[in-house]
Symmetry: D2
Subunit: 105 residues, 4 copies
């Protein structure tokens, strides 16, 4: 189902001949730049305008999909693979109700 988003992004980039700018490094920079704009919505208060959150989150997601496509990875597969690792680092019985890092559990 992300194929639809991925294909729309590929077409958007191709129409503008922007692939030349989309090195993995530039996309990684773009992800943190947009993540900063997302955090800006929460800079002074947690009581925020949802429309701004949606828009900034969309920008982060967009660059994440472009980077995933650049390295030939499927976003959902990346998430599920990493989740398997995280499950072992944070066993439910030890981690329940705690925000500590795994090495402090």
């Amino acid at each position: 189902m992300t194929d639809e988003a991925r294909d729309a992004l590929r077409a958007f980039v191709a129409e503008r001949d922007w692939d030349q700018f989309h090195t993995a490094e530039n996309l990684a920079k773009s992800i943190v730049i947009e993540a900063g704009e997302l955090l800006e919505v929460f800079q002074w208060s947690g009581d925020v305008d949802d429309a701004r959150v949606r828009e900034e989150l969309a920008d982060v997601l967009t660059y994440c999909l472009l980077l995933a496509d650049k390295i030939g990875a499927d976003p959902q597969a990346l998430i599920l693979e990493k989740l398997a690792t995280t499950r072992t680092k944070y066993p439910a019985d030890k981690a329940r109700g705690r925000s500590d890092k795994y090495d402090r559990l």
Copy 2:
């Protein structure tokens, strides 16, 4: 970015009773923190270890999906909605082959 990833993340969070930590603001902080770790792979060189990129990108995507779920948004819908706006800000004929911001096109 499908229901499968969302449902796996929901189960993972529920098993650990972590929803209490996942305010929209904390998730936005987490996205930029993980985006910084992704950029760290590229800190001194663009010639990087793909396995590290996959792992750090997975972390950014994971928090993006958790935030999308928190605000009741579908990640793919967010991307496609934002892409429609971006298409109008960056008309293909004006933006082709240029990395300038829309207000400089």
Copy 3:
């Protein structure tokens, strides 16, 4: 932020022949990477360990001084110059007690 810190950093970098890695762009990447580590101290709670804040803030400041030195700027002069601009964008009488951006004052 004085010559003492700048000179100590210059000597540290020279002894390690690290100037070759310290392009303005790599230093800018390093600043946001370290800023993310600083924010990680506050990821799940505002009640934090001051020693960690001091250490991570030191890293951000260190790369800021290296970048300032790279572009031949004096950190204190940069701050005071920008403050003059900000004073005009945020007149005390309009901005008092408000966290709004200048274009919303």
Copy 4:
């Protein structure tokens, strides 16, 4: 010598009654937000406008000084203290000409 910058910032904040917004956490968020804007200058190319770098670096430095002041730390002392630690983690003879992390030296 940063006393001048620190005192100017304290006066600027006091005139606007902004200390109420400047929790350590909000300042840490602000540092990474501004660091993202600094990186944006380098988003697509390392060939950049120095005036923009100066302005964005000034913003990062400003929030760094505000956070240092908030936790009662002297920026220069923080840098020199951390540098002493870093010298031991990166011995000149081992680290010379290498960008590897200390645990890979």
